[in-house]
Symmetry: C2
Subunit: 333 residues, 2 copies
């Protein structure tokens, strides 16, 4: 569990894409963020208060989050003075970057001296058991995609937020680094040893109230040759009661795999339900999430109508049109 | 690559099941074994020459293989004198046990002093890339099961052996510890980090002659909630041209999952082909391997006939009736 609230460290990144983790945390958990800390050459502004380490401590910050990826996804040497200062004031540090906080001797020494924790969210924290397949109490929803990076995390966070707004019991269950930093905990599933993937998902979504929903962050795609095994472990470990189908129209091929075209939403529905019903025969596909960011307003509306006609399911672009209809569909099953 | 020939170390195991790795190596690679080394209380006999370390060195042994699992799957303390002696004569040691040779200080020191290698075959030797999905030259066959432990490794080894007998080009590609010790190399797929599973399989089955068959050792089952992710990584990383369906009739439920019943062979065929054709549209199911060890001769023949009728595929119990018909079917596609 990463302690909140956060101070978001932006370093000196010069484009918004490199700051997407920080943007995600600010968008989804604004109440968990006290401000941003930017170095002199930083060109990104999250439009939240600029705070020094001292200001942030005053404002109650418990963890400095490296919300950025510089070239290579590494922790830059010239950031380390700031990071060490943060530790010396008692803040923990959390990072999803490739090189680890816990491999840096200076930071490790400072953290030890100050009694602080260095969270490398790409590294699983514990050993997991082999999955036991036991049915857990409570309900589970999982987003599955025609491809990777089609908006599975986004629709899941949006649904959890909408459910919380309605006073429903719902928890976002993070399975990737950004999701873990947003939520403050989770399992970096792609870093778990193969034998224990499904067991890790079972641990992540334990028994709960009968009317509680775990909204599980999806990973990969059952159709993506590089990552499909991780996805199937999510389906079989998660035992979802409901699937959200996710798609981005217009992609020429599966991301990173120029020789493979995307499946249709119908193909996705059929394969994902087939696999999910092996462990939960009552699983249903309840709605479709479409990323229409490359479409005009009229194209988006036409496309979404077509999807609804083809699938017989409510469809939406969560960013453009919200997720109310997906939540309506979810809670009616 | 583990150097052959082997000396098979049986320690002091008292039943044949605990020696199954050694039995497998002797059965499948008799020419790679110079003999067995048994401690005084050992009750298992592989019916090969009993050799001391010195005898084995004289006979050309390059590696001592721990072919046994004692209670807990651990390397027993009282074995270590023998193991150290083996290292001092220049032999490597290979083990598939849970505790690692490379975690034992005495063995590590002795290996270093003698310039020998300690092979822990449960541990992946290298980092693997993310799978790229590229079509490789040569052909690939994968056994898939209705459940775990239904004879996938056995049928694969039998097919490779039969193909070699006929002068066909075929390589067994090991993905589990026993297979790796039998073959002398391979990838312990269940110990690979999730993101790299399919990439590891691609590395294991690289480009080859157009008329060469990789006979890939299967793992888990697409229907088994605990391990299905590993299986799908094999299907999508292996890009098989041919599937062998594997089954053991009479099981009351999936192994280790008392709440789940086994799929039928037809269900297995349909799901496995669906997933395999995502990456290799020409993939075919070519035959069925049935473990009839709990059936009488007449029950077995009747059952296999029924399977052939239901599936339209040649079926056999590899142990009882050999795999000639499976190889005939494989090379005719």
């Amino acid at each position: 569990m990463i302690k909140k609230p956060y101070l978001l460290f932006l370093g000196d990144v010069d484009d918004r894409l490199a700051a997407k983790v920080a943007v995600g945390i600010r968008d989804w958990r604004p109440n968990d963020v006290v401000g941003q800390l930017r170095l002199p050459n930083c060109r990104v502004d999250l439009e939240i208060p600029d705070l020094s380490i001292e200001d942030a401590v005053q404002a109650g910050a418990k963890t400095l989050v490296l919300g950025v990826a510089n070239r290579g996804g590494l922790i830059a040497d010239h950031w380390k003075d700031v990071l060490t200062t943060a530790l010396e004031t008692g803040m923990d540090i959390a990072s999803g970057l490739h090189n680890k906080l816990n491999d840096d001797e200076r930071l490790v020494r400072a953290a030890k001296r100050c009694g602080c924790t260095l969270h490398d969210v790409r590294v699983p924290l514990t050993d997991f058991p082999i999955a036991n397949g036991r049915k857990r109490r409570g309900k589970r929803c999982l987003a599955v995609g025609t491809d990777v990076s089609v908006g599975k995390m986004y629709v899941s966070l949006a649904m959890q937020q909408e459910m919380a707004r309605r006073g429903l019991k719902a928890t976002f269950r993070a399975t990737g680094q950004t999701g873990i930093l947003v939520e403050g905990n989770g399992v970096p599933l792609d870093a778990v040893v193969a034998d224990f993937m499904a067991g890790a998902v079972e641990c992540l979504t334990p028994d709960n109230d009968d009317d509680h929903w775990d909204i599980i962050e999806g990973q990969g795609s059952l159709f993506h040759a590089s990552y499909s095994g991780v996805t199937l472990a999510l389906v079989h470990g998660g035992q979802p009661d409901a699937l959200i189908l996710s798609h981005e129209p217009g992609r020429p091929h599966m991301r990173g795999l120029p020789m493979f075209s995307l499946p249709t939403l119908i193909e996705l529905r059929d394969v994902a339900l087939k696999m999910a019903r092996m462990v939960n025969p009552s699983c249903e596909a309840v709605g479709v999430s479409v990323n229409t960011s490359r479409m005009s307003e009229s194209e988006a509306r036409t496309y979404i109508s077509q999807v609804e006609e083809e699938t017989g399911l409510p469809a939406t672009d969560p960013i453009r049109y919200g997720v109310e209809r997906l939540v309506d569909a979810l809670i009616s099953i």
